[in-house]
Subunit: 194 residues, 2 copies
């Protein structure tokens, strides 16, 4: 599959995701990725120095898709409470889609996520950072109680773990899950009102 | 190890726990249990009809230890908010002890719990039932907002999953975990105040 397109990091990562989808996390190799791109594996290594670096980068790309989508909610207009609800519901929905629409790829990424603790820590810091911006704005605007936004963001993130931690993915499609999620949101949002 | 003590279900279960501690969930057999008790395996089967029944019973006994201890908090005197905090903190503390004091046995029971979904469902129903009693009393006494106690109990239980679900056990000894837990409790309790 020779190609005349420039070999960019993004092309390599998109192809890596395809290879992972096909072969699974255990079997996918850099040679498979190079072959699918019609290039030598040395060309791939020019962009990602090791197989581990490539796996980390593709994992980060997968996680960033969620945080990038949510950052739009942080920057939107409107009351902080509204945005907080939309943000938490958006995270849950994104996870539901990732788990439900392509379960094999989700399982593969769950393996990769387990290997990439630094990437995951950054991802969680990114997400709780977004939450903290909403909490700070709500707090400063008098919509929420005065609080340490980082601490509160962390508590909100932990409190909703059932709806974003992949360990709970099998529960995300059970009957009544949306109602339970809404009850939890109501409780959390009430806890922030002055 | 012949013995003249009467062979009760409780003695069998206590010995089963010892055998599990020694051999692990994969290797422990009914014959091991019978041998440790100095009785025939037929005597054990008279109390527990199958190996699966014995494993379920010992798992239930392990889980009940936590719920029995917590039921004292439900029935105690004092404001519902106080009891709610003590109950949730008590659950976290009990889990921390189970995981930290005897990690091998905890790992063994984590395997057994994974096999015994009915026992686990009953255990969770038991725990959320206890929480619902506190919430109902608080709600009826005007300390908490009017709410459906079962729904709210479920939300509280889910919100604190990070502090009782064995999947998170590795986090229970990390620095700052107590502070994070307290922040979460504060947020949840504020959400219940009228």
């Amino acid at each position: 599959m020779a190609t005349t397109e420039t070999l960019t990091a993004e092309r390599i990562l998109a192809t890596t995701e395809e290879v992972l989808r096909r072969h699974g996390a255990a079997k996918a190799t850099v040679v498979d990725v190079a072959r699918a791109l019609g290039v030598s594996h040395a060309s791939v290594y020019r962009h990602f120095r090791t197989k581990a670096a490539l796996r980390e980068a593709v994992t980060k790309r997968w996680l960033d898709r969620t945080s990038d989508a949510l950052s739009g909610v942080v920057d939107a207009e409107g009351p902080a409470e509204d945005r907080l609800r939309r943000w938490l519901a958006g995270l849950f929905e994104a996870k539901q889609h990732k788990a439900g629409d392509d379960p094999e790829l989700f399982a593969t990424y769950t393996v990769l996520v387990g290997e990439a603790s630094e990437v995951v820590d950054e991802h969680i810091a990114d997400l709780t950072g977004q939450l903290a911006v909403i909490v700070r704005q709500g707090s400063e605007g008098g919509e929420f109680v005065p609080c340490d936004p980082d601490v509160t963001a962390r508590a909100l993130f932990e409190a909703t773990a059932r709806y974003h931690d992949p360990a709970y993915a099998p529960d995300w499609s059970r009957a009544g899950v949306e109602d339970a999620f809404t009850s939890l949101l109501d409780l959390l949002v009430r806890g922030l009102r002055p």
